[in-house]
Symmetry: none
Subunit: 402 residues, 2 copies
C-alpha cells in the first residue's frame, strides 16, 4: 500500500532526490567473514548513517528472491508482482533494443535437437557469439513471416538470442517452448488464452521454418523460446510523481528499466569519475537521479568476497563524497536485492537502506551495515515504500484528506 494515492498527492517542487543503487549490495556473514558491507571501510556512508536513518526493505515480499527487473520496479515504487517484467523485455533492455508498444519480445536459446526431435542440448554446446550471429543471419535471410509480422533476432552471447516479433495482436500468453530438460521434445507454442491465438499461429509458422532452415546447421539446429513479453505500459515518473528523472548506469539493462518508467538515460559511464561528471552536468535539469553501480552484484554472483568489499569501498570513496557535495534534498543509498557472495546468487534477504534528508527522525545507528539497519528508525518496509518516503522527505507530497 501507500502507492495507490501517491500520484494524486505528488506535486512539483525544486527539491532533488538521488538514489545511489549498489546492485546486489545486501549480504550475509559466511566463512568467518561478516558481510562485505560490514567489513568494508566506508567512512563516508558511516557518517551519513549517523546523520540520517537506516532501515531494511523487502524487494518483493519476505522470502521472495527477485530478479533485477521486479527488484528495480519495486525501488521505483511500482508494484513488482502486478507489473512483472518478463525475461524478453530484460533481454531487449540488455541489448539497448528499442521496443515498440505491442511488440512480442522473448528470450531464445539456440539448442541441438536429435533425429527424434528431442532436445539433445538446451544450449547447443554453448556456441560462440559468431556461430550465434551466423544462425541468426541464416534464419533472417530465409524466413517468410506470416501476417506482415516483422522478425528481429539479436545475438546476446553464446547460445542466447533476443527474438522480437512486431505486428498487431501478438499477445504474450503463450506456453514456453523450452521444456527445461533434455531428452524430450520442445513444447509447442500453445496459446494459453484466446487472445494469444494469433501469437500461437505466428510462432508455430516461425518455428516450423526455423527447424527447416537450421536443419544442417549443427549444433545450433533449433531454438527454444521463453519469457514472452509485451512491453509494459507503466505510468512514467513524470506522470506519476511529477518528477523529471535521469538514469546514470553502466549496463544497458538498467537503462532499459529506467526507460520503462520514463527516465531520461545517458550513455554508459566509463568509470565512477565519468558517472559523477554526467551527474554534475545534468544536476540542474532534473529532480530525480538514479545512479546505478553494477559490480557489487557481479562480484556477489562470482562468490568473490574481497572484490565485493573493495567495490563497496570504491563507491564510498569515488561516488559518495561527490554526491554529498551536490547536496540532494533526499539521498537514498540501497540496492535492488541482496546477492550474498556465499550463495553466488540473488537472495531474499531484506536490503539495507540508508536515508538522509533534513526531516529524518534520528536513530542510534553508527555505521551502514545490514545489522545496524535492523535498529534504524526507518523500520522495515516493502521496497515499494522507499519512493513515497523519498517524496515525502523531499516535500513532494500533498497532505491526504482534510
Amino acid at each position: 500500500m501507500g502507492t495507490d494515492i501517491i500520484s494524486d498527492l505528488a506535486k512539483k517542487t525544486d527539491t532533488k532526490i538521488l538514489y545511489l543503487i549498489m546492485d546486489g549490495l545486501g549480504d550475509i556473514p559466511a566463512d568467518g567473514h561478516d558481510t562485505p558491507l560490514a567489513e568494508a571501510h566506508t567512512p563516508n556512508m558511516d557518517r551519513l548513517a549517523r546523520e540520517g536513518t537506516l532501515g531494511l526493505c523487502d524487494p518483493i515480499a519476505p522470502g521472495i528472491t527477485p530478479g533485477s527487473g521486479p527488484a528495480h520496479l519495486s525501488l521505483f515504487g511500482y508494484d513488482p508482482v502486478e507489473n512483472n517484467v518478463g525475461r524478453g523485455l530484460l533481454s531487449a533492455f540488455g541489448l539497448d533494443f528499442d521496443l515498440e508498444p505491442g511488440d512480442l519480445a522473448m528470450r531464445g536459446n539456440f539448442c541441438t535437437i536429435d533425429d527424434d526431435g528431442n532436445v539433445a542440448d538446451r544450449r547447443a554446446g554453448r556456441i560462440s557469439d559468431e556461430e550465434n550471429k551466423k544462425a541468426c543471419k541464416l534464419i533472417l535471410d530465409n524466413i517468410e513471416m506470416p501476417d506482415n509480422i516483422k522478425l528481429f533476432l539479436k545475438t546476446e552471447s553464446e547460445h542466447r538470442v533476443l527474438v522480437v516479433l512486431r505486428g498487431d495482436g501478438l499477445a504474450e500468453e503463450v506456453e514456453e517452448t523450452d521444456p527445461q530438460a533434455a531428452g524430450v521434445p520442445p513444447n509447442p507454442p500453445r496459446a494459453l488464452t484466446s487472445e494469444a491465438k494469433k501469437s500461437e499461429r505466428v510462432l508455430t509458422s516461425m518455428l516450423d521454418q526455423i527447424k527447416k532452415i537450421l536443419k544442417d546447421n549443427h549444433p545450433a539446429n533449433f531454438v527454444l523460446l521463453r519469457g514472452y513479453s509485451n512491453p509494459l505500459e507503466l505510468p512514467t515518473f513524470k506522470d506519476r510523481y511529477k518528477l523529471d528523472a535521469l538514469a546514470i548506469a553502466e549496463y544497458p539493462m538498467y537503462r532499459g528499466l529506467a526507460k520503462l518508467v520514463g527516465m531520461k538515460t545517458l550513455p554508459a559511464y566509463k568509470d565512477f569519475e565519468d558517472g559523477i561528471s554526467q551527474l554534475k552536468k545534468f544536476w540542474d535539469d532534473y529532480d530525480f537521479f538514479f545512479f546505478h553501480v553494477k559490480k557489487t552484484d557481479s562480484y556477489g554472483e562470482d562468490g568473490n568476497f574481497e572484490n565485493k568489499k573493495k567495490m563497496i569501498e570504491e563507491v564510498d570513496k569515488g561516488i559518495v563524497p561527490a554526491v554529498i557535495k551536490l547536496n540532494p534534498d533526499v539521498l537514498v543509498i540501497t540496492c535492488d536485492h541482496s546477492t550474498p557472495w556465499s550463495l553466488k546468487a540473488h537472495s531474499w534477504h531484506p536490503v539495507p537502506v540508508l536515508f538522509k534528508s533534513r526531516h529524518d527522525r534520528p536513530d542510534e545507528c553508527k555505521v551502514f551495515t545490514e545489522a545496524e539497519c535492523l535498529k534504524g528508525s526507518m523500520g522495515r518496509h516493502p521496497s515499494t515504500d522507499i519512493m513515497p518516503l523519498a517524496l515525502a522527505h523531499a516535500g513532494k507530497l500533498e497532505k491526504f484528506g482534510a
Copy 2:
C-alpha cells in the same frame, strides 16, 4: 489489514478501553532540541511506558501526511483511504452542524472577483466574522433554490463558510470551483460523473444567483467551493465492535468525527479537570472512551516548541493520573498524526504509541519518547491495527477459526 474480520470476532464484555489522543503529538528533533515529548517531564507516562509496551504506527501509509479526518478514522480502525472524510464533512463537524444522509456539504470561501470575472482575492481580504454573517444572510434572504433544495450557510471564521445542500440525489463528484489561484476565473461546478448532473445544475443555479446577490457587497462578492462531500455511512462502534463509545473533546470537529462512527458525544470540556469529571461521571455507562486533547497539535502548527512541551507535561499531570486511577483494562496513549513544530504542519512521521493492559508482552522501554517507541514490543503497524490490538488486550475478540 487486520480490521476486515474484526466485526465477526468482536464480543461484548464488561472491560473498558480508553484512548487518550494528544493531537499532533509526534515530532522530530530540530534546532538543538530533542522532540517535545522527549524533553517534556512526564513521570506518569514514563511509568506506564515501563509497565506497558510501546510501538510506532503509520496513520495512512509510509510517507503519507494525513489530514485530521483520515488520521482519526485510522485510529478508530476504519480504512482511511476507502473512507476518505471530505473537507465539507469536517467543516460541518467543526460547527456541530447535524448532517442528514444525502446532504451535500462543502467548504466555501468568500472571495473577491474583479470586473472581468477573475478571482482577485481568494479570501476576500479575510473579512471579519461579522461581514461573513452579513453575506450569508444576504444570500439566504434572496436566493431561490431550484428543485426544492434547502440551502444552509454557516459562518466558520473570517472568509470561511460551511455550505450544505439538502435534497434528493445530490452526488459529491463535482469539480471544485476554487481555482486555487488568483487572476483566473472560478471553475464551473462541472459534474465528474453522470450521477452528479443534478448537483451541477443546482450548484450552477446557486452560484449564478449568489454572483448577482453579492454584486455590490465588496470585498466578499462571490464564493468559491471545494471539498464537496456526502456524509459517509460507516458502521458504528456498536455494530462493528459491540462497543458503547463516548467521546470527550474540546473541539467540535473531533466530536463530529466521533459521531461519524456512532460515539456518544458530550459538550466541549472547559479544562482538563472538567474533561476528567465528564469521564468519571460516565465511566460506568460506556466501555470505550475517546479523550481528545487538541492543543499539542495547535502548538506544533504554531512552531512553538516550549508550549507543545508544556502542554504534554500538563496532560501528564492533569489527565494521566486520573485516567490511571479509573483503571481501564486497556489504555492507549497516542496521536492521530505527527505535527513537528519545526515543520509547523502535519507530517508523515510515524506516531508514538503507548499501550498498557494486563496482557502486554513487555519490552525494555523506559520512557515514552519517539526514539524509545522504536524499540517497543508492539512494533510498527498501520494505525488501523491499534483498534484490533486494543480489543484483543481487552478480551473483546473471539478466536479466529477452530
